[in-house]
């Protein structure tokens, strides 16, 4: 009962958020300078042709009509077609304004569906690496507040946080791939290509997890139910693993939700450096090509992912701590 009401409320809120995001993105893209038709058709195309294409595509209609049309499409699962990318995946060319393949421009939905799993794979692996690094350090630091594990956690977080990711990415690629030939780095031809970018991302996220964990574990450990548990006869392992960690996992969960959303939204720099064919790379290219439908599509899909992840996180948090239901 609670679950149904919760889901109904949150999904409705989520739909509203996604709608607002798309409206905002749609308007902004049409207000910024730069005519996508000029880019598509090429600098040499005659003005009349450009106007013709633009009217054909409905780009000269008032914004709210364009938006209405667009939303109508989304409701039917249609995110529109890319302005620039052809369906056959060939490289985009600006000069061929009389290119006969224009009618077969790629579906935005297909483009996203092809790249999103790549980003998901990267995000999950990055998260796994980050947790692997951060959990032991963070928990240990939280169990000994003020002691050297706590200081160690602080120092290592400071080091991680001050490494610029592009620098770390380049250095690691040089060391591990070029010199030692342990893992491949550039492009994507198999799972091994995910490891290096994921590790760089993990180093970037880990300090936040470490910090959150030390603070929340230390906070829970100083509460009276932990203090009194030993007097009640519970063993230290029971106290730490069944009570302390469970109670400190709610703040961690919230943080992980935010971090994971950010990873899914496309990690522009890292995907660009490693030429990793994920949403990030797709976004960069779409922006550079003024590919409005693609940018909009990515924005909407990411917003929807944000909303869903948040719902899942809140649901998980309520399962762990039932007080949050009220």
């Amino acid at each position: 009962m609670f679950l149904a009401r919760f889901l109904a409320r949150r999904l409705a809120q989520g739909a509203l958020i996604v709608f607002l995001v798309s409206a905002l993105i749609f308007t902004l893209l049409r207000v910024v300078p730069g005519d996508p038709v000029r880019l598509m058709a090429g600098g040499m195309a005659p003005e009349a042709l450009i106007e013709e294409i633009a009217s054909d595509m409905g780009l000269r209609d008032p914004i709210y009509i364009q938006f209405g049309r667009y939303i109508g499409g989304i409701l039917q699962g249609d995110l529109g077609q890319s302005f620039v990318r052809p369906a056959n995946g060939a490289a985009v060319g600006g000069a061929s304004f009389d290119d006969s393949t224009r009618s077969e421009r790629a579906e935005v939905w297909t483009l996203i569906a092809e790249t999103a799993p790549m980003t998901l794979q990267l995000a999950v692996l990055a998260m796994a690496f980050a947790l692997l690094i951060a959990l032991p350090i963070g928990i240990w630091g939280g169990l000994r507040p003020g002691g050297w594990p706590d200081r160690f956690a602080l120092y290592i977080s400071s080091v991680f946080v001050s490494l610029p990711n592009f620098w770390l990415g380049i250095v690691l690629a040089l060391l591990l791939s070029v010199k030692l030939k342990l893992v491949p780095a550039i492009g994507y031809e198999g799972f091994a290509y995910t490891i290096l970018p994921a590790f760089v991302l993990a180093i970037e996220i880990a300090p936040f997890i470490i910090r959150t964990l030390t603070v929340s574990v230390a906070g829970v450990m100083s509460q009276s139910f932990i203090d009194i548990a030993a007097v009640r006869g519970l063993t230290r392992n029971q106290i730490i693993f069944r009570h302390a960690l469970k109670n400190s996992s709610v703040p961690l969960l919230n943080l992980l939700g935010v971090q994971f959303s950010m990873l899914l939204g496309g990690v522009l720099v890292i995907e660009f450096i490693f030429d990793y064919p994920g949403l990030g790379l797709l976004t960069i290219n779409a922006v550079m090509q003024r590919d409005f439908p693609l940018i909009q599509g990515i924005a909407i899909v990411t917003a929807a992912a944000f909303v869903l992840i948040n719902i899942i996180v809140d649901l998980a948090a309520t399962t762990i701590d039932p007080r949050l239901e009220y």
């Binding site: 009194i228 007097v231 009640r232 006869g233 069944r242 009570h243 762990i320 039932p322 239901e325 009220y326």
Partner: protein
């Protein structure tokens, strides 16, 4: 396996126990020695700082830095816990159980109470199966009279009230059939009626489960009520140990003597608090049919908490008006209404013929000059970063009174009036004791020369001696400035000492409004009688708890019963009480009560 208690004369014997505060090198417990026989209940009493909690913790092997045992022995079955920490660990939670004074935070909030009871038993006695442990937990929850134990077993700690949680913690302690139960201030956070139930329960459990109890508390009447013998701890030493009656009749030590002498009484004769009331005088504050509800989200959607309902009373100039009731009865919500912090949903609150509930914010600020509030928490109610002088001058600045020098003079005058040294003018409140902080709070309230002071549990954070001093101060200020006081309190003894007229609240309603003498000698509402019967006192009781109060807890303010809210716990309830809520009615001599029993047609 339970320790064989039949063959041993003493279960616990403490020999020359000394506990030191290592940082300062000060001894908190000095040379403490005593024996506890199986099945015996021994009370340990002493003021705050006498070392009683340290003793409880030492026995539970729960001392932590900077406290350390520096001498003596704690023998259980002849084995010294201090020399054999491994043995102490096997006893913890199994043979030696501990219940503390803060039941609210004692269990993991994210696990059901039942799961934690089972977890605890299986931690100390792994040979017991989960199903058996569960069965035992439910049986014990029933034994401590938790209603619907089977269902409660699956609820989370936050779904329990304070009193129920304390019962659950007693179950937690008894799960392993311990030989010794250390009860450290277990009734302190509870309301008197609930505390009385817990005490009764503890005695029954002591008989049924043959557990010895070390009952630590700071109230002499409670200690005497609870125990076979009372041990008095003063400044870390055991100064005396006697059976309760003997202790009261023939205290051996000067400290015990003083403790008994200073104890305020409820029914002592020869008190002349009630001032002659002149009926023609106009009320300074007049409350009529006030109600306030709050919205909360609950499992089944929105719910209304009816915090205050049908509250009616008049406060006359020069009165010491008391408002008493247990926690959750709406005292604090009422305080917020009286001071205009919130507006009532119904009814009116007149302060000198002006309706506080409807006054404009600007008018309200002007009115506040004439009525001021002093809060309960001496620490949270003062800004820690402001100097004492600045704190006192702030109200004057807000109301644009006087120039700089004048404000300074008034602040200093107020300080000396409440007994704060004026050279503290420039210092921060950080170093002040709780009592001094409350003096400062009083000074801040009276610097505006109000006519009415509302004291919300102002004294409840202070110990008995400090309370007495502040009460004297209030009396003196009243004589000098003609203040009228409203004391909001849960402490009947305090109210008995100071107040001329008293309103009793139950579940948001005023169920009785009566002059002091009348309330204590001829209460008009069964709930007032129940409160009196449960009040801790050494005097011969006028009302016996077993006649006045039935088992159970107040109903939730979310689903109130249709009739009288007290009917469920009232031994004298009859049909009409279940359907019709009685209104306040005069019983003559300025006493009002809301009870059908007072109807001429009913009795």
């Amino acid at each position: 396996m339970s320790l064989d208690m039949v063959q041993t004369k003493t279960l616990l014997s403490v020999r020359n126990l000394t506990v030191t505060l290592t940082g300062e090198g000060r001894d908190v417990l000095k040379d403490v020695s005593f024996d506890l026989a199986p099945r015996q209940i021994l009370s340990v009493i002493g003021e705050s700082g006498s070392g009683k909690t340290v003793l409880a913790r030492a026995l539970a092997s729960w001392l932590s830095e900077p406290l350390a045992v520096t001498g003596g022995e704690i023998l259980i079955e002849g084995r010294d816990l201090l020399k054999d920490p491994a043995y102490a660990r096997t006893l913890a939670g199994r043979e030696i159980a501990y219940v503390g004074g803060n039941p609210a935070g004692a269990l993991d909030p994210t696990m059901t109470v039942g799961a934690q009871l089972v977890e605890k038993l299986r931690a100390v006695r792994p040979e017991i199966s989960a199903a058996d442990a569960r069965e035992k937990a439910i049986r014990l929850l029933e034994a401590v009279k938790i209603p619907a134990a089977e269902r409660r077993f699956h609820e989370y700690p936050f779904q329990y009230s304070g009193g129920m949680m304390q019962r659950a913690m007693i179950v937690d302690a008894l799960m392993s059939d311990p030989a010794l139960l250390i009860a450290d201030n277990i009734t302190q956070p509870l309301d008197v009626t609930v505390a009385a139930q817990i005490l009764k329960l503890m005695r029954e459990l002591n008989e049924d489960f043959s557990t010895a109890v070390l009952f630590i508390c700071s109230s002499l009447p409670v200690a005497c009520d609870a125990a076979d013998e009372v041990m008095v701890l003063h400044d870390g030493r055991v100064v005396e140990r006697q059976a309760p009656d003997a202790l009261i009749d023939t205290p051996q030590h000067g400290y015990t003597h003083k403790l008994i002498e200073e104890l305020p009484t409820l029914w002592a004769e020869g008190r002349d608090q009630a001032q002659p009331q002149d009926r023609d005088r106009r009320a300074i504050m007049s409350v009529r049919g006030v109600a306030k509800h709050y919205e909360t989200r609950s499992a089944s959607g929105k719910a209304l908490v009816q915090a205050v309902r049908n509250v009616e009373f008049d406060v006359f100039p020069g009165d010491n008006f008391g408002i008493v009731g247990e926690s959750g009865c709406g005292k604090s919500s009422l305080m917020r209404l009286l001071t205009g912090l919130e507006r009532p949903d119904a009814g009116s609150i007149f302060f000198e013929d002006e309706n506080v509930g409807e006054a404009s914010p600007k008018r309200l600020r002007a009115l506040r000059r004439k009525f001021q509030l002093v809060l309960q928490d001496p620490y949270g109610s003062l800004p820690p970063q402001s100097a004492i002088g600045a704190i006192l001058e702030e109200p004057l600045k807000i109301h644009a009174i006087g120039n700089r020098a004048e404000r300074r003079d008034r602040a200093r005058a107020a300080m000396s009036e409440v007994g704060l040294p004026t050279d503290l003018y420039d210092s921060l409140p950080t170093g002040l004791s709780a009592g001094q902080r409350q003096r400062l709070n009083v000074a801040r309230a009276m610097v505006l020369e109000p006519r009415l002071l509302i004291m919300d549990e102002t004294l409840s954070a202070l110990d008995q001696t400090e309370q007495g001093k502040l009460l004297n101060l209030f009396e003196r200020l009243q004589a000098q400035h003609g203040f009228t006081y409203i004391f909001i309190s849960h402490d009947l003894t305090m109210v008995r000492q100071v107040c001329s007229r008293i309103a009793v609240m139950y579940l948001g309603e005023t169920v009785e409004v009566a002059p002091n003498e009348r309330l204590f000698f001829d209460p008009g509402h069964p709930y007032s009688r129940a409160l009196l019967s449960a009040a801790p006192t050494l005097e011969e009781r006028r009302y016996r708890p077993e006649d006045c109060l039935m088992e159970g807890e107040p109903p939730s303010p979310i689903d109130l019963p249709p009739g009288c809210a007290f009917a469920g716990r009232c031994p004298q309830a009859f049909d009409r009480c279940l359907t019709e809520n009685p209104r306040l009615r005069s019983r003559g001599g300025q006493a009002l009560a809301a009870c059908h029993l007072n109807d001429p047609g009913e009795s």
